[in-house]
């Protein structure tokens, strides 16, 4: 069992500068997480690409309707949601870094922060829906709102799944289930979950400007 000095040295060696890490990993390029997760990610990106392109085409066929519809959306809520998801992604990214330098408890804490910011998104999105419903606007109001509710609700479901995944990762990290140094990639599950979450953030980064801004 390594003593404290050896552990500290190991952690200091792991906490290299960005350029040093880049040099070390240049020779070995590894796809983070499981390959299956990446095929799933590509499949989801494809579905959303069809949604985004369909939305753009529909807007060009109904310019006035879409302009009026967008004016009824809560841009500030959308902006806060964007910031919340980016911040959540940031905490997921640094939680993976914590795992790699063997700071599991720190990783769990960072995942909790990530879940907190995701919860902000959930609350705000539900408030947004409720606000529209109160104005008598729903999925059948017109083409704009049909697409708005379809696309954002589909993304919302992905957020919920992502939160379950993050919670599962936090549980496993807390229980020390990612510390098997003899496995080929002991963090594969963690990396897969993290990449899924970043994908969800990536989708919102396209969705928000497309539906709320332009």
């Amino acid at each position: 069992m390594p003593d404290n000095q050896q552990l500290t040295t190991a952690i200091m060696v792991n906490e290299t500068t960005f350029s040093e890490k880049n040099t070390q990993t240049n020779d070995i390029k590894k796809l983070p997480g499981d390959l299956a997760m990446w095929f799933f990610i590509l499949a989801e990106l494809t579905v959303f690409a069809i949604f985004f392109i369909g939305f753009a085409i529909a807007e060009n066929l109904n310019l006035v309707m879409f302009s009026e519809g967008k004016a009824q959306l809560h841009k500030v809520a959308g902006l806060i949601n964007t910031i919340a998801l980016i911040t959540s992604s940031y905490f997921v990214a640094i939680s993976l870094y914590s795992m790699r330098v063997q700071k599991e408890r720190q990783a769990v804490l960072r995942l909790i922060f990530a879940l907190f910011f995701a919860a902000i998104y959930i609350v705000l999105k539900l408030w947004e829906y409720d606000s529209l419903f109160e104005q008598g606007i729903d999925i059948e109001t017109n083409t704009f709102f049909t697409l708005y509710f379809l696309i954002t609700a589909f993304h919302f479901m992905h957020i919920l799944l992502g939160m379950v995944i993050l919670a599962y990762m936090a549980k496993n990290a807390y229980q020390g289930k990612y510390n098997d140094p003899e496995s080929e990639n002991e963090f594969s599950g963690f990396e897969s979950g993290a990449c899924y979450w970043h994908m969800v953030d990536l989708l919102w980064i396209i969705l928000f400007p497309l539906i709320y801004v332009i």
């Binding site: 796809l31 690409a49 302009s67 992604s89 940031y90 970043h198 396209i206 497309l210 332009i214």
Partner: protein
């Protein structure tokens, strides 16, 4: 030389800045013309820049096999490009 965690923080800052910039540009153009193609192209470019940060830094694909990195980068370039062309 920056530490790895600082790289993530810088990325976060850049993403937030780009987000605010796209909203600010949107506010400006809202009072100008309806569906200005230039405005849309700028917003789509911002999407590509933000996507690149998420892909290269958060997803760590900068250190992944080039094929996967290129596929993901292509997504955040091609999809916004198609959207821009639709609005032209």
């Amino acid at each position: 030389m920056i530490k790895i965690w600082q790289r993530y923080a810088l990325s976060w800052g850049w993403l937030i800045l780009l987000t605010i910039a796209s909203v600010a540009i949107g506010q400006y153009f809202q009072h100008a013309t309806l569906n200005s193609v230039l405005f849309i192209a700028i917003v789509m470019l911002i999407i590509a820049l933000k996507g690149q940060q998420i892909i290269d830094v958060f997803m760590e694909l900068k250190h992944a096999p080039k094929l996967w990195r290129n596929i993901m980068l292509a997504y955040v370039i091609v999809v916004p490009l198609i959207i821009t062309l639709i609005y032209m």
